[in-house]
């Protein structure tokens, strides 16, 4: 039994979710191999070889793999897992935008039912996954020969990024499919901790009222706490914050030590993204807001006066 983990990386280094996915692979048992498919991604492959518990790193380097286009990346994964000599029983992707983009393509080509967004490994063929925006947990069993799985990062503690010394094996990269091409990328620049791996998150909702107020209120508090900034869908839709800050069923799933919800009512779709946080604080004017039903500490107050006071007292 061998599991292939598809690393998420930016060619220069690994993304944190790769470590959580390796942890899920370790929980399944058997050998863990990691595929680093990219272009000039030697550093990422080296980083993968140092993850504790990894037995082998497969490195495919080619121009067609530079930007993670689904057609090419899926073809690369298939080229490796269809090599029966390897006999991969499980193929794991992090449940990130990239993993979600590629995994179902691989699963369909293998004619297997993908298991999305697992939060727990029950046994080698049985897994838990949330459904209905996290309002129910389904335990599902797969009888497929190969199991294609996406892993929710917050469901598994990250594997240690060092301590391993796996050999790196180079394989031929696939050719470009010619069906899609990469045009460009607009990366939101931020020197804050990454939202999905931050220990503390300060999140704002529609009650902030404007993009200026959103920044003015949240930034100093996030600075003070060394926190990442998140947002509700309402705040993103209103243009107060960019979409990559959205926390929820359709945005990012987070589980920090401390989640501070400011002016967020707590719709089902938002709770789906943060209710596994260790400690939840809600500050809201409306004492009936549903967010108070999941908050460990609730403060009914005007956030425009409460937040500056909070900063001062910290």
């Amino acid at each position: 039994m061998t599991t292939l983990v598809i690393a998420e990386h930016d060619n220069a280094g690994l993304k944190a979710a790769t470590l959580n996915t390796v942890a899920a692979a370790t929980a399944i048992g058997g050998d863990v191999h990691v595929l680093v498919a990219g272009h000039n991604a030697g550093e990422a492959a080296k980083a993968a070889s140092q993850i504790a518990g990894v037995a082998k790193v497969i490195h495919a380097d080619g121009a067609a793999l530079e930007n993670g286009l689904a057609e090419n990346l899926a073809a690369q994964v298939l080229a490796i897992v269809e090599n029966e000599a390897e006999g991969y029983s499980h193929i794991l992707f992090p449940s990130t935008a990239s993993g979600k983009n590629v995994a179902p393509r691989v699963a369909a080509k293998l004619d297997v039912a993908q298991i999305s967004d697992i939060i727990k490994v029950v046994s080698t063929d049985t897994f838990e996954r949330p459904i209905y925006a996290g309002n129910a947990i389904a335990t599902v069993q797969s009888s497929d020969g190969k199991k294609v799985i996406t892993v929710r990062a917050t469901g598994f503690d990250a594997a240690a990024a060092s301590g391993g010394s796996a050999p790196v094996e180079s394989v031929a990269a696939v050719a470009d499919s010619g069906k899609s091409s990469f045009v460009g990328r607009e990366v939101s620049k931020s020197d804050r901790p990454e939202l999905t791996s931050a220990k503390i998150i300060v999140s704002g909702g529609r009650a902030l009222g404007s993009e200026e107020k959103f920044k003015e209120v949240l930034t100093p508090l996030a600075d003070k706490l060394g926190a990442a900034i998140g947002a509700s869908r309402a705040a993103v839709d209103a243009g107060y914050a960019p979409n990559d800050l959205q926390v929820g069923q359709t945005g990012k799933i987070v589980a920090p030590e401390l989640y501070i919800a400011l002016g967020i009512s707590g719709a089902i779709q938002h709770l789906a993204g943060m209710k596994d946080s260790k400690v939840i604080v809600a500050i809201n004017k409306d004492e009936e807001a549903p967010i108070f039903s999941v908050a460990d500490y609730g403060l009914v107050a005007d956030l425009f006066t409460a937040v500056p006071e909070l900063i001062e007292k910290l």
Binding site: A70, E71, T96, A97, S98, K100, N101, V102, A103, P104, R105, A107, A108, V112, A113, Q114, S116, T126, P130, I131, Y132, N135, A136, I137, A138, T139, V140, Q141, S142, S177, K179, S180, S181, F182, V183, R185, E186, V187, S188, R233, N243, D244, K252, E257, L258, I268, Q269, K275, I280, V281, E287, F292, D296, Y297, G298, L299, A301, E309, L310, K313
Partner: protein, 250 residues
């Protein structure tokens, strides 16, 4: 381009908090309000806008499932789809089977574009678009927040973890919609009346030669762990004290 195919799903309404059945066999969805999956509304809206711009000539809405999915298709027709296909079955149809049914319909209808939601809010799988693209050997543009169709190509801006990414795909292609692609229009009463007269074809999975037997077995469905009841604090000072001394998170 001639046709756009838009798969739509009937799901429990997004504002309903579902309850897990006491025997852990599933969630209780009997007598609960159902609606069109929100991402699929966005997909239909985008297809209809492409038609209004003259980029396509026909919008076909498809749904797979119980007879009541007809209502979902009528909604799609009221938004502006031209005709609808219901692939009727009372069995549970899992994402891989849905992708296979859609692949059969793609073969039959030969659309120039397939636009669909990025995920259904009931199973939260986020698979069908990508799987369909794989089975039909088409390129894919998932999580789209902007779509421009010109000639035999579509340029799509995608919502990714770090921001936005733009790709071009050759047509035919599968595009899956993210929330910010558009704001779906409200259906008006005259359009609801008109939708009743639009053609709705009824098929069975067997007619398309597709086996929809579930491949994943659901052993049980349980309640997520409950959070212990929290407390309301009277002021900021009390909040800071709790965070420092009780929760010890700052």
């Amino acid at each position: 381009m001639t046709k756009v195919l838009v798969p739509v799903k009937r799901v429990v309404d997004k504002d309903i908090k579902v309850r897990v059945k006491s025997d852990n066999s599933g969630v209780d969805i009997a007598n609960v309000k159902h609606s069109m999956n929100p991402f699929d509304e966005i997909a239909i809206e985008e297809a209809v806008r492409l038609k209004e711009k003259g980029a396509v000539t026909e919008v076909i809405a498809v749904s797979i499932g119980v007879p009541q999915a007809q209502e979902t298709l009528r909604t799609a027709l009221a938004i502006g789809a031209d005709r609808a296909i219901l692939v009727e079955t009372s069995e549970e149809v899992q994402p891989l089977a849905v992708a296979k049914v859609l692949k059969a319909l793609v073969d039959k209808e030969q659309p120039g574009l397939i636009i669909m939601g990025k995920q259904a809010i009931d199973d939260d799988a986020n698979q069908v678009g990508q799987s369909l693209a794989a089975l039909a050997d088409l390129p894919q543009a998932t999580f789209a927040s902007k779509v421009e169709v010109a000639g035999d190509k579509a340029t799509v801006t995608r919502e990714v973890d770090s921001g936005l990414e733009t790709i071009t795909v050759s047509l035919p292609a599968v595009i899956t919609t993210d929330l910010r692609l558009n704001e779906p229009r409200y259906v008006t009463l005259p359009n609801i009346m008109k939708a009743k007269k639009k053609p709705l074809e009824n098929l069975k999975p067997e007619d398309l030669g597709v086996d929809v037997t579930p491949r994943l077995k659901t052993l049980k469905v349980s309640e997520p762990p409950k959070r212990s009841a929290g407390v309301k604090v009277p002021d900021v000072a009390a909040l800071v004290d709790k965070l420092k001394n009780e929760a010890k998170v700052i």
